[in-house]
Amino acid sequence: MLRGRRRMECTLDAQSLISISLRKIHSSRTQRGGIKLHKNLLVSYVLRNARQLYLSERYAELYRRQQHYPDGAPLLAMPACPPPAAAPPELAVLPLPADTQDREARSCAVVRGGAELLEVPVCAAPPELQRAPCRDSSPGFYRATGSAGPGGGGSSNSAAPGLLYAAGCDFGSGGAPHCSSRTTVLDLDTHVVTTVENGYLHQDCCSQCPCCCQPAPGLASPPPTPGTKRKYYPGQEEEEEGVEEGEPGGGGVAGGPPFAPCTKRARFEEYSAEHPQDSSNISNLISIFGSGFTGLVSRQQADSEQPLNGQLCSKQALASLGAWTRAIVAF
């Protein structure tokens, strides 16, 4: 990755690259001739690269700040991430780094974000994509969490489908460095890119990690209720996937295990009903970078929530993924 003095501007560039890439994926859905698999795949690589740099910058900064507040930050539950398979860039199942202890100390400082963000830092780069050595501060993925979730790790997913955001934890200056954060959001419907400054109280933040997600007042409106028909609703994916299975391939086409679009959709609806989106008023925030479908389970969740398994996480991821992954998954 780009190093040295350019890193700062690259971080900013990373943010704009992310929004540009998301815009491209979004617009590809309406282009004539159907979604171009090749181009979307390449765009997703750029997204991944930009994300890695962006998050690594954030993470490094948070770590530095964390050093100043060693006892203020409760531990964060670490997700159990199975090792990556073929590791697509955007959906990489992320390997847990060996120094979990270390990361836990750092990660708790990261909790915040658009009021609903749980950032779990994991080495983001799948092995074969890590030609450059992966910096140990490379963070992993975001998952939008329900606001004010109990500290036990029930980070419910409140991100509205059809929206994308990159949550950044930018520690502003001042007495509560933990608590200011900046979120860059791209509304795929209106194509508006905005940056939202959030404010939190330091103690609130730290005492309720990992889900100290008291939404700051004045944040965006609550996500739409489940069942609201949105552009990037999994149903669309289902339609395309289901159809794809019926393709008249050339002789001997090896089909993989069929997708279970209906199952996923059902789960999504069910899940959303169980965890109603609440106070976060970020209706036009979109969560991005949910990682591999099987990689989103936190240990605590695995224990406490029985049905939570890879597929449940997949629908969580679906809920939190924006159109850009659906563009790819839709084939």
Binding site: G33, V46, P88, A254, G256
Partner: protein, 457 residues
């Protein structure tokens, strides 16, 4: 052989380019700056003799040019190419099942070798391949007993004598008729077709699969490569181009978006998912950037005529590979390295996704590829010299020698050089073709086709 050599001028150009001095010959297409989208040229291909030159466009049309017979009195230039046939090859379609529109744009044209009086070519859009027969008609039967000359039927009771109809000459008519339609075999977008050296089969490749067809059979094809992962979330690369070996009917290659080329032998197994050879050059870690994956994606692969080498084109370079060496190319030519620092803007304006093609000359000694600002580049493999030329109507006097161009990457711009920032990225040359035997090249700008020849004296 020797006579032919002496006819060709062997100059060493002032710009240090090739021995060949390229001259403008013709330009085809509208003069307007306002380009109609349907007129955008999407493929260019000479036939095996070089007498015919086919172009396909975004509107689904195919235009074939034919070279005039060489005129004894005009020994200083070869015959001109004139329109021979125009037909609508593909129409826009709508896939109702998937709610997808299928573009009529012609992605590739490939000629079959000529077996009889008619010519045959394959043309393909994203989903359907068609075999077209182009035939001439220069005679017509006259003197029917039951039909008038205009086609009206005569009343049989008025026929008093019988005559035998005879063929009489007529104005040449060139007819194109679709003889085979190979449809419904590709879920993803077809990017390549390639005719086997057995002249009976051909392959078609989309993003994830390669199918083998028999030219006579349309209702079936064999899938020979399938890289679709069981779980589409695990997709990491797609097929970008595929080609049969020019001599070995069992061998083909396909390139990927990750910059690798796989050579497969159809004798090894029915499904060639396991390659026989994998050609890959390790990435230079110092060049790593956000866009490394994009610029390493291969946009075209072409075997040399000899079959010993193959050439690949990625965004910034052309690489020549020896089929006997898998771990690195034998030659690498930088097409427009000055763009490496501009990748961010090229990503924003989508130019970084442009798919440039490349081609060999007849003797495999020179390779050619396109660039921006209507520039195209040639690399002489023997002399290691290269030249940049421009396809522009400004040099449109026949037999005007093209002036070599130069792009100034940074710093002081010399006279006649063009700075990177003043390049027009909307003027791109993606498709070029080289006559199989002569030094005649066809270069497609957005909507115009330029034909250049070497200077003959």
């Amino acid at each position: 052989m020797f006579l032919k050599f002496s006819l060709r001028s062997v100059f060493y150009g002032a710009g240090g380019g090739n021995d060949i001095q390229w001259c403008f010959s013709q330009v085809k297409g509208a003069v307007d700056d306002d380009v109609a989208e349907a007129d955008i040229i999407s493929t260019v291909e000479f036939n095996h003799s070089g007498e015919l030159l086919a172009t396909g466009d975004k509107g689904g049309r195919v235009v074939i040019f034919q070279q005039e017979q060489e005129n004894k009195t005009q020994s200083h230039s070869r015959g001109e190419y004139n329109v021979y046939s125009t037909f609508q090859s593909h129409e826009p379609e709508f896939d109702y099942l998937k709610s997808l529109e299928i573009e009529e744009k012609i992605n590739k044209i490939r000629w079959l070798p000529q077996k009889n009086a008619a010519q045959f070519l394959l043309s393909t859009n994203d989903k359907t391949i068609k075999l077209w027969k182009i035939s001439e008609r220069d005679k017509r039967p006259e003197g029917y007993n039951l039909k008038e000359e205009d086609g009206r039927y005569r009343d049989p009771t008025t026929v008093t004598t019988l005559r035998v109809p005879v063929f009489r000459p007529m104005d040449l008519m060139v007819e194109a008729s679709p003889r085979r339609i190979f449809a419904n075999a590709h879920t993803y977008h077809i990017n390549s077709i390639s005719i086997n050296s057995d002249y009976e089969t051909y392959l078609s490749a989309d993003d994830l699969r390669i199918n083998l067809w028999h030219l006579e059979i349309t209702d079936r094809s064999f899938n020979i490569v399938d890289i679709k992962p069981a779980n589409m979330e695990e997709l990491t690369e797609v097929i970008t181009a595929a080609e049969f070996h020019p001599n070995s009917c069992n061998t083909f290659v396909y390139s990927s978006s990750k910059g690798t080329i796989r050579l497969c032998d159809m004798r090894a197994s029915a499904l060639c998912d396991r390659h026989s050879k994998l050609f890959e050059e390790p990435e230079d870690p110092s060049n790593r950037s956000f866009f490394s994956e994009i610029i390493s994606s291969i946009s075209d692969v072409k075997f040399s005529h000899s079959g010993r080498y193959m050439m690949t084109r990625d965004y910034l370079s052309v690489k020549i590979w020896d089929l006997n060496m898998e771990n690195r190319p034998v030659e690498t030519y930088q097409v427009h390295e000055y763009l490496r620092s501009k990748l961010c803007s090229l990503y924003e304006n989508d130019c970084i996704f442009d798919k440039f093609e490349c081609c060999w000359n007849g003797s495999d000694s020179i390779v050619m590829t396109g660039s921006y600002n209507n520039f195209f580049r040639m690399f002489d493999r023997n002399t290691k010299r290269d030249i940049t030329l421009e396809a522009s109507r400004e040099n449109n006097k026949p037999r005007t020698v093209l002036k070599p161009r130069k792009v100034c990457a940074s710093g002081k711009r010399k006279k006649d050089e063009i700075s990177v920032d003043s390049l027009d990225f909307n003027k791109k040359i993606l498709h070029t073709a080289w006559h199989p035997k002569e030094n005649i090249i066809a270069v497609a700008t957005t909507n115009n086709l330029y034909i250049f020849q070497d200077k003959m004296n």
